[in-house]
Chain length 242, copies 2
């Protein structure tokens, strides 16, 4: 590999090495606690200077994914959160099942009006008043995802304040008398984090994110809320059950 080989992809060489190692950890090629190959060996496999490898490892170390021990080697630290995509999915339950402490925090709540697409998802008319809630969810102290949630301002007046107090979408819906709800059709794609989300997720720029668009319905199929969520890809894996 070399700067010419990248064909000017716009990613630094050390980033490619770091991503390669990280994927090796995600794949299970390197398990938690394992010792990585030496810097020289990594440099040879990626056909890259040792200093470039060091830069890659430094970036991974800063994110807590590996840990370097002088004279000995560099060791793997990390683990992903398993996130089942069932129709009845609650963030707090998933995180709790992983033995971690779930948290939610309101970033911002504001009034908004429905675009044509939002209106269609929520079964409202274009231009209908909405509440827009920007929130972040964490496991222990690690940010997992940021979500933009839209609800009808007529059905859920003051939803922003309620969310700020309860810090939970489930409790917010309970407050309005919704006892149970189900996830509807869900779109999943991947992208690169933007500057705003990078800061909120405590993620370096350029990292991959999983983008999930979903609408929750009550038990008779009436749309309640529609969400646009961005997950730090390196901290989570989705499980789709058949």
């Amino acid at each position: 590999m070399s700067m010419q080989d990248t064909a000017s992809s716009g990613v630094a060489l050390w980033r490619l090495v770091a991503d390669g190692i990280e994927r090796g950890i995600a794949d299970g090629r390197f398990a938690a606690g394992d010792k990585l190959p030496g810097e020289m060996e990594i440099a040879e496999t990626y056909r890259v200077n040792r200093h470039t490898v060091r830069r890659a490892l430094a970036a991974l170390a800063e994110r807590g994914i590996v840990r370097a021990e002088r004279g000995s080697g560099t060791y793997v630290e990390a683990q992903k959160l398993a996130y089942p995509l069932r129709s009845r999915t609650r963030f707090s339950e998933i995180v709790g099942a992983d033995g971690r402490e779930p948290h939610g925090r309101l970033i911002e709540a504001s009034e908004d009006v429905a675009t044509r697409e939002l209106a269609k998802e929520l079964g409202l008319k274009t231009g209908a008043p909405l509440v827009r809630i920007e929130a972040i969810r964490l496991a222990d102290r690690t940010p997992i995802c940021v979500s933009t949630t839209w609800l009808s301002a007529e059905l859920f007046p003051g939803a922003g304040e309620v969310f700020a107090a309860t810090r939970s979408m489930t409790k917010l819906l309970e407050h309005y008398g919704v006892r149970d709800y189900r996830r509807g059709a869900t779109r999943i794609t991947a992208g690169i984090v933007d500057a705003t989300d990078a800061a909120r997720l405590d993620l370096p720029l350029g990292r991959p994110i999983l983008v999930v668009d979903a609408t929750d319905h009550d038990l008779v199929g009436k749309p309640l809320v529609t969400k646009h969520s961005r997950f730090a890809a390196e901290r989570v894996e989705f499980l789709v059950e058949p």
Copy 2:
């Protein structure tokens, strides 16, 4: 935005701009055929030099996502493939439903032995003989995903040759008398494409990919094949039905 602000994320500034525009297209902020804002305006919104914006647009143009018209503006070209993740999912049907021509191609077939994890997925013993099939799937002439597929070499002798001839996993299984099958538990995550897959998917280095691990079962639940697929995130979106 500036080179200092990126905090050395390892991605070039023009890449961040290109990714931002691309995400705007994916989100529907810019629809197919729309005119993008002028280079000067984009430069202002990203707080970046116009030359940097030009570089970003040039990269998008080379990938066929936008088209620049001198004196007039820059216009959007692209569309994503909607990929439903139902338990009975066939690539050719999905692509056909999108009005495009599905293709498959064998990259490589080889003998392999089951690691502990592969053995567990396939209900075999560690070290059992496997056939490993590396294949690529395309819609029209656009590569959509590369998959590594493992099957028991005892249950499916010569599977590599059969796949090379039929170019379809469904037809391969039919050849061995499997009339129907279902997708089992599926893990989805995101990452950055590596050099090998980048070449196969005709993607620039550093682009995001959707990584899908799944095992297909016959109708009584016996594991048939297990797959590790990498999708070009910019060309596909997964739909999970409730």
